[in-house]
């Protein structure tokens, strides 16, 4: 193992210039600088000092902060540090613009998005050079990837605007959207956020990262010049506090954030219960899996694109190399040789692979983590390549002999550092790959199609690249599983994140129900009915509640109609464990799931009178028969959908396909509403299990007997053990345990306003996907608001599997 030798380059910033004769001998690459003259002229025209872009013009901020060139540490420009007042002004500008922008219609907005795409193309080099200077990433990347992908995003979303009225007619714009983007792909993340938001009819307040605000300001300025109306896109620059002010602003209807998992959690907490829609695109520790039948040289190049692209400052960087043991030595040998060919240097040099790290703080953090990795037993390799002596640079680094318990194996380093481990079998590869809190992306290398396509669905992440890495396209959704966030950007799965269902937008707060008090009952000597004990339903068995307490269930007149078990924390724990264990359901054929849903309907139908009288006894509802019939119909509906809610095959611009697969979320907690105790239960549970989820259901607290009566129906309908688990009891306490449980993947809450707030607030431990009603009343008899894709969309997460092909 050769130690790192970081030789300083002999001249700054372009390296030593040789004569033709000398080059003829050395055959070195000379400097290939990209001119920054146009960018300097643009900065000078603004006196290198920028305000916010609000309501169609630059508005000075009260306080200034600086943005530097990472490659040299030199000051690039002063920018405004946004205050609450600035956020107020921007939100108000966006609010004023929202009405007319939405009213403009799909075609009108499509014209604007088209203009933005063309504008970006016309000024492509200006954006590329500015981005490279402000961020420190190589001009090759900004020129060949960031800017073209941003252009493509605006074209693609001009299309969604055009098609909105015909294809998305059940939905409308959310309103004013606050967007907070990171420094690693400043312009591209702007495009990912702004294009779908504007296309769908929203207006935007964008907060770029404090390190890299300039391309957003340039974009806003030029967008305005090509006719984007004032207030439609506002840019407020600043630091974390500015972002926090945007998140907390009451006038914002949605927050879209890309950044660290840590900040994502804070945003989830801050927006909990406010009704703000939220999408989070967070961190990752993505596996790069090399099987022994892979094209090893191809995979080595893949690693280069996975971890040394943008200096490894990529949320979906393939930072965990998993190599099959039999080829590990050979692969690492080839990788090290390849690392020796990497060139690092000034980002405007057209002949480099790696530019500068964004900031000295980040540089220090990377160094500390690498040292920690070594201290924990890893072997460090850094090739003997030249790094510039000034500026913020870190050499490409490979850590071998890394164990799963090592810090560097679990923490996101966000730098050019690859850790490597080996595996023996495909199963072990999957196990190691999934052994992470994150779930953003994965790269799988094998020349055996059967193997690659077997592994891809088993990986817990939102994007899988087969024999490729870091491919992006506007037509293909991007986003994470687990603590890598939720929501998708790009493709049809992405556009929904900027829309709301019209039927839900019209919901009103629930009517307050009178709580019955237990009435005095006079007993008599008639022969009584045989006593029935409603237990809990866990792992396919009726189980006594752990605490062994019961609660009385009253009719509206206060008569005790039955008693149910008082579930507690441990019952939830047991139910979640049972659901986790019922993994086979998620892999079962959709046809099988459909059959079981039909069978539940059949058996419910056979006992419909009994259920109707039970509902009537609990609720006093004289039309309880309708509720049972509607429930049977709903079960049929999801039996129908089970094998029809398909994914999509996207067409990114490459020879290959991207399969957008609808995958189950996993274990989902469900809090059922009090209104429609049977229909509400069925309406929430059926779509979830139709899509392969396993559920832990807390039935209506007031009217749980319709659910407990279902046990026998479920048992006779061949529902596998653990697929549906039912825990009765106090909604608030059971909800808390479910929300905080880190092995619950998602949580659906249809209860009080407070329930919704708690669900969102308490579920940040593992960043559950939540679907809550904010205490608004859902019409369970109206299919448009409670049946079909409306809920199915929330019962799945989309995984995009990129499969380039060719022989």
């Amino acid at each position: 193992m050769s130690p790192a030798v970081i030789r300083p380059s002999t001249a700054i910033p372009w390296g030593r210039i040789l004569s033709v004769a000398e080059y003829f001998e050395t055959m070195d690459y000379g400097p290939a600088p990209e001119s920054d003259a146009e960018v300097r002229a643009w900065l000078a025209a603004h006196k290198s000092s920028f305000g916010h872009f609000i309501g169609g013009s630059f508005v000075p901020g009260a306080k200034q902060i600086e943005t530097n060139e990472p490659a040299t540490g030199k000051l690039l420009a002063g920018i405004a540090d946004g205050s609450k007042k600035d956020i107020d002004a921007a939100v108000s500008a966006a609010r004023n613009a929202h009405g007319p922008w939405e009213k403009l219609g799909g075609h009108g907005r499509a014209r604007h998005l088209y203009a933005l795409a063309r504008m970006l193309q016309r000024h492509a080099r200006l954006f590329a050079v500015l981005e490279s200077l402000d961020n420190g990433k190589p001009i090759r990347e900004t020129r060949d990837l960031d800017v073209p992908l941003a252009v493509r995003h605006f074209y693609h979303h001009a299309g969604w605007a055009q098609l909105q009225e015909s294809e998305l007619s059940a939905y409308k714009a959310i309103g004013v959207v606050g967007q907070i983007i990171p420094w690693n792909f400043p312009l591209l993340m702007l495009a990912w956020k702004v294009a779908p938001a504007l296309a769908a009819g929203n207006t935007v307040v964008l907060k770029p990262a404090e390190f890299t605000p300039l391309t957003a300001l340039l974009f806003a300025e030029l967008a305005h010049k090509v006719g984007l109306p004032p207030g439609v896109l506002n840019v407020v620059t600043g630091e974390g506090a500015t972002g926090a002010a945007l998140v907390e602003h009451a006038g914002v209807d949605k927050i879209a954030f890309t950044g660290s998992t840590e900040v994502g959690r804070l945003i989830r907490k801050a927006t909990a219960g406010t009704g703000k829609s939220l999408t989070l695109e967070l961190g990752g520790k993505s596996p790069f899996i090399v099987f022994d039948d892979a094209d090893l040289d191809g995979a080595v190049e893949g690693v280069v694109d996975a971890i040394w692209f943008n200096q490894g400052q990529v949320c979906c960087a393939g930072s965990r190399l998993l190599v099959q043991e039999g080829v590990a030595i050979e692969f690492i040998k080839r990788l090290k040789r390849r690392m020796g060919k990497l060139r690092a240097g000034h980002p405007l040099d057209k002949a480099i692979d790696m530019g500068a790290i964004i900031d000295p703080i980040q540089l220090k953090r990377i160094g500390m983590l690498v040292d920690k990795g070594v201290a924990e037993g890893a072997e460090k390799f850094q090739p003997e390549i030249t790094l510039p002596v000034t500026g913020c640079f870190f050499p490409p680094t490979l850590l071998t002999n890394v164990e799963t318990s090592s810090t560097v194996a679990t923490e996101e380093i966000f730098g050019p550092v690859l850790v490597s481990m080996t595996f023996r079998t495909p199963d072990e590869a999957v196990m190691l790959a999934n052994n992470s809190r994150y779930g953003l992306s994965a790269s799988v290398w094998s020349e055996t199609i059967g193997l690659a396509l077997d592994i891809a669905p088993k990986l817990q992440c939102g994007v899988v690249w087969v024999n490729a890495t870091n491919l992006f396209d506007a037509a293909v959704g991007f986003g994470g599983y687990r603590e890598s966030g939720f929501g998708r950007e790009g493709g049809c799965e992405g556009i929904y994140e900027y829309l709301k269902l019209k039927a839900w937008a019209a919901r009103k707060p629930k009517a307050i129900q009178r709580v019955a008090t237990e009435a005095e009952v006079k007993q008599n000597f008639n022969e009584p009915l045989v006593d029935r004990t409603a237990k809990l339903f866990v792992g396919g068995k009726q189980a006594r509640p752990d605490g062994n307490y019961s609660r009385a269930i009253l009719s509206p007149s206060g008569k005790i109609v039955g008693e149910v078990g008082e579930g507690n924390r441990k019952d939830i724990r047991n139910a979640v464990a049972a659901a986790r264990g019922a993994e086979g359901w998620s892999k079962a054929a959709a046809h099988n799931r459909a059959q079981i849903l039909y069978y539940v309907a059949e058996n419910l139908s056979a006992r419909s009178d009994e259920f109707a009288s039970r509902i009537k006894a609990m609720t006093g509802n004289s039309k309880a028969k309708y509720e049972v019939d509607a429930s049977i119909q709903r079960l049929f509906s999801y039996g129908a959908w089970a094998d029809k809610y398909d994914g999509a095959v996207h067409s990114p611009p490459l020879r290959g396909v991207a399969l957008a697969m609808n995958e189950p979320l996993g274990v989902v907690g469900v809090i059922c509403p009090d209104e429609a105790p049977l229909l509400g239960f069925i309406s929430l549970v059926a779509p979830l299990i139709a899509m392969g989820n396993r559920v832990v259901v807390v039935p209506s607290e007031r009217h749980p007997l319709a659910a407990t009566d279902l046990y026998q129906v479920l048992e006779t309908s061949d529902v596998p053990a653990g697929v549906i688990n039912i825990v009765t009891g106090g909604r608030d306490t059971l909800l808390k345990t479910l929300a905080e449980h880190d092995d619950v993947d998602a949580l659906w809450v249809f209860g009080s306003k407070e329930n919704s707030a708690n669900a969102e607030k308490l579920s940040t431990g593992n960043l559950k996907r939540t679907l809550v009603d904010y205490g608004l009343a859902t019409d369970w008899y109206d299919a448009a608001s409670s049946e079909g894709p409306v809920l199915l969309r929330n019962a799945v997460q989309v995984k995009n599997i990129w499969i380039p092909y060719g022989e």
Partner: protein, 326 residues
């Protein structure tokens, strides 16, 4: 010929070949898309500008196998080409580049057997070798014994390099043993002359075929592997180059022998040859930028390089008619 796996003592020793071993090609895995991405992104990752570019282009001139392979070739046509090979770049341009005293000439002259003698005479004293295309070039479908005779005749006439064509059928039917035997015979017939194995990559189509044929020809003693005759529908590309270079690297790792590489056909612009040079340097290293390990089979490339070099020294764009034709 030697049938050995022993690593040669000198790193620059001529490839002696090794015994036929199917294992060497059985685990060849090529992913087309990944390979394409490599060659598509490389020109964006490496750029050679200004003085460095002039140096690289001059280096390319020294690697050109200046070629004429037409049915209407005559002795005078070949002599004109030889003259150009000896003086490929105008003297005033060389002077301005600081190369007035340097003997810059092309890597070789490449002709049909009929003109080997003519070329050898025309190039006498120049140090420029004559390469003969052989073995029933370009289709390679004449009887095997006649192929060997053709090689021997060209060597006898003074050819120092023989560009043979392989029997594509052996590749297309997976008859690797036959390919190995054929190549070994060619190598034998060449004697001291160096042999370049033309794979006709446009005919054998798939990258796996290209990789396997490359390895077999090297095992059988090829000094160079070469893409094409220039007569196939598709000739040299960066993609097949990548595959062939990786096989050269693998062969070197297994045996210690350095095998040369020659793209031919379709490399006609200065910026094209720079991309090939970059790929050589990145995949194989500095050593593979010299004519002993890198040749470019080309006829019109030189004229474009001359224009670029003139532009480099004058700052004005040049024209073809300002440079003597070859």
């Amino acid at each position: 010929m030697a049938q050995t796996n022993i690593v040669p003592m000198s790193a620059s020793a001529r490839n002696a070949g090794v015994a036929y071993d199917l294992d060497w090609i059985e685990d060849v895995r090529i992913n087309l898309s990944a390979s394409e991405r490599r060659v598509a992104s490389l020109p964006g990752r490496r750029s050679v500008k200004k003085d460095a570019q002039a140096a690289w282009l001059l280096k390319a001139v020294t690697c050109i196998d200046l070629t004429t392979l037409s049915g209407d070739d005559t002795a005078s046509r070949v002599r004109r080409l030889c003259a150009k090979a000896k003086q490929p770049v105008r003297e005033d341009i060389l002077e301005k580049l600081g190369f007035a005293e340097r003997n810059i000439h092309t890597g070789a002259i490449c002709v049909y057997h009929r003109f080997v003698k003519t070329a050898v005479e025309a190039l006498e004293g120049s140090g420029i070798p004559v390469a003969a295309v052989s073995t029933g070039f370009p289709a390679g479908l004449v009887p095997h014994n006649l192929k060997l005779k053709e090689i021997e005749a060209s060597v006898k006439d003074g050819a120092q390099e023989i560009d043979i064509v392989i029997t594509r059928e052996h590749v297309l039917t997976g008859n690797w043993r036959a390919l190995y035997d054929e190549m070994r015979d060619f190598r034998s017939a060449c004697g001291e002359a160096h042999v370049k194995a033309i794979l006709a990559t446009g005919d054998i189509k798939t990258m796996r075929n290209v990789a396997k044929a490359s390895m077999i020809c090297m095992m059988a003693g090829a000094d160079f592997i070469k893409t094409s005759t220039g007569k196939e529908a598709v000739n040299a590309t960066l993609l097949v180059t990548l595959i062939m270079l990786r096989m050269i690297r693998e062969y070197q790792e297994r045996t210690g022998f350095k095998v040369g590489y020659k793209p031919a056909g379709g490399v006609s612009a200065a910026k094209d040859v720079l991309n090939y040079q970059i790929l050589m340097k990145e995949e194989l290293g500095r050593k593979w930028l010299e004519p002993d390990l890198f040749r470019v089979g080309a006829s019109s490339l030189l004229a474009d390089i001359e224009r670029q070099l003139e532009h480099h020294v004058t700052g004005r764009y040049s024209a073809f008619n300002r440079h003597p034709v070859g």
